[in-house]
């Protein structure tokens, strides 16, 4: 800080004065406090230097005068006071500016951090909102679904059940979590259900449908149609089972009533048909038989007469023979009548025919607790024949297999329907069951008409089936399985070979 008396002539600029003083000071670093004299533009000037700050680290005040007695006592005092004030002022100003600098720095850092945090927070909020939205949406789907939805662990223990499901079974979700779904499944339906679950868990099927009965909390029974699938696990959620359930009780009851009526009707129709049939066969055959008996009786009487009426006896014997022939012709006519319908031949894919039959039979099979599997050969050549008749044979074989398992309770009731090419270039279809098998004593009679091991059967299914196969230049036969049950097989030529 330099003050120049305005009266000074020659006007050296303050910069010039400062430069000179700095040069001087640099050469006399210790010349502090006691007054010194320097010559300045050939004038003698008394200088006094005063340190600012404790060690002069803040600067120096230089005061000078042309008076050589400078500084006098009062001037020295004033200068000290001024130096102190200046030092304090400088220090304060320095602190203040430092404070200002620090504060603005901090403010800036805080602002920046705040901004970063705000961005992160914003993103988090968005993600969270999305998760909540998604969760809410799915929860809402679950809660408001028109059909029952239940989730269970891989042992069948309930994890969650939606309101429709709870209502259907009469249990609250909390109560359901205490049990496995098999515990509330009607006992007869458990085996089949569990077999299907195991296949699901082993990956043998992606999902399955089952119609089964649950025992409600109040003890009543509800029929449900379940579509069951495995939901794959994630890092946080293990695999679980999901069932979509629909109450089909009304339909089942109606169906059962209908089936009962239908099977009664079918039985009546079969009995009636058979009665009519036997009556007309009896009538047709008994007419000539009546002639035979009468003629033969007459013949004997004529021979027994005294004398014997030989001419009459010959005549009645001839009539007897003629009536015998007539009776046999009646039989031949009847047989012709039964085998009259010639199959209408067409070329078709046996696998398609099997699929149709399977689709039609699945409900009845399931009612009988039978699991139907199919193993249909790809690239199976087409066959030629009466599609309906061949399908009738397949229906017969499936029904036969299913019936053979009706008393089986200690193992799964399984039917395997399989198509394949056979060694002779034909096509082969087999139906394998796990039923009672074939007893040696009935093996011979298996395909005879009216032979049956079933209480309510007519025993014509296999016989008719065999005759249908024969009409198709095919064969139908049966073998015993290595395990339980039997396999019925038919082979027919493929369409290019016929």
């Amino acid at each position: 800080m330099v003050r120049i008396r305005p009266a000074w002539e020659g006007n050296p600029q303050p910069e010039e004065i400062g430069k000179r003083l700095r040069a001087w000071l640099e050469n006399h670093p210790d010349k502090v406090s006691p007054p010194v004299r320097i010559s300045f533009d050939e004038r003698d000037i008394a200088l006094v230097l005063l340190q600012l700050g404790l060690h002069g680290d803040m600067g120096i005040i230089v005061a000078g005068s042309e008076r050589l007695d400078f500084p006098q006592q009062t001037e020295r005092l004033v200068l000290h006071v001024a130096a102190n004030q200046a030092a304090i002022g400088l220090q304060e100003s320095r602190l203040l500016s430092e404070e200002r600098r620090n504060s603005s720095d901090l403010k800036q850092r805080v602002a920046q951090r705040t901004m970063e945090l705000a961005t992160i927070n914003d993103e988090l909020n968005k993600a969270h909102a999305q998760i909540i939205q998604s969760e809410e949406r799915w929860r809402s789907v679950f809660e408001n679904s028109a059909i029952g939805v239940a989730l269970t662990d891989l042992n069948g223990q309930f994890i969650a059940a939606n309101p429709v499901y709870q209502k259907m079974l009469g249990y609250t979700e909390e109560e359901l979590r205490q049990v496995r779904f098999l515990d509330i499944t009607v006992e007869e339906d458990r085996n089949l259900n569990w077999v299907l679950i195991e296949e699901l868990l082993e990956g043998k099927r992606p999902q399955f449908q089952i119609e089964k009965r649950y025992r409600r909390k109040n003890g009543s029974t509800v029929w449900v149609r379940n579509s069951v699938s495995v939901v794959p696990g994630t890092e946080r959620v293990p695999r679980f089972l999901m069932a979509l359930s629909e109450d089909v009780t009304e339909r089942r009851l109606a169906e059962e009533a209908l089936n009962e009526t239908r099977s009664e009707l079918a039985h009546m129709a079969r009995v009636t048909t058979l009665n009519t049939l036997t009556a007309s066969i009896a009538h047709e055959v008994n007419q000539p038989l009546s002639g035979i008996v009468t003629n033969a009786s007459t013949c004997l009487r004529m021979l027994d007469a005294n004398p014997p009426n030989l001419e009459g006896a010959r005549e009645t014997a001839r009539r007897t023979i003629r009536d015998g022939t007539r009776a046999s012709e009646v039989i031949t006519r009847l047989r012709a009548l039964f085998s009259k319908q010639n199959p209408s031949f067409e070329v078709f894919d046996l696998n398609d025919a099997v699929k149709e039959v399977a689709a039609l039979s699945v409900s009845e099979l399931q009612r009988n607790k039978v699991i139907l599997r199919s193993d249909l050969a790809a690239d199976l050549p087409c066959v030629s024949g009466d599609r309906i008749q061949i399908q009738q044979v397949i229906v017969n074989l499936l029904r036969n297999g299913s019936d053979a398992m009706s008393i089986v309770d200690d193992r799964p009731r399984e039917l395997l329907i399989k198509t394949e090419c056979d060694e002779s270039g034909g096509v082969r279809l087999s139906v394998k069951d796990t039923g009672v098998g074939i007893a040696p004593q009935i093996e011979e009679k298996l395909f005879e008409a009216f032979h049956t091991t079933k209480g309510d059967g007519m025993g014509i299914g296999l016989s008719v089936s065999r005759s249908i196969m024969e009409r198709h230049q095919g064969r139908l036969w049966a073998i015993r399985n290595e395990g339980p049950g039997a396999t019925f097989i038919f082979a027919i030529p493929c369409s290019t070979n016929t």
């Binding site: 007419q287 038989l289 002639g291 008996v293 009468t294 009487r301 007469a305 009539r319 009536d323």
Partner: protein
Amino acid sequence: MKSRDGRSTIQRPLVAVVDDDESVRESLPDLLGEFGFDARVFPSAEEFLVSDSFGQSKCLVLDIAMPGMTGFQLQQELKARGQNIPIIFITAQKEEAVRKRALERGAVGFLLKPFSDAALLRALNTALGLG
């Protein structure tokens, strides 16, 4: 009357046979002849009704199921005309209801085809009060 030597009997009772089946019409008269009866055969109820043996027959051997008028209808027609000729039904229909119906309506015999000569003779003897 003994049937053993029927051919020598002068007054042989007439038995009418109504059946649409030819083998019956052919074979029964000979057997009836062996029993000592005269026999006349008719292929239908209608033909029997218009024949001259209608009033002379001592017994009617009658099939049930025939085209046109059935055996039962003929039975009713005869009753309506005040003819109380004994009737032996012969049929291939093995139904208890048919048998019951026939006997309820006053048939003296009901034979299922094929029937034995002995059964027929027993029925004829009953019908003619010879038993």
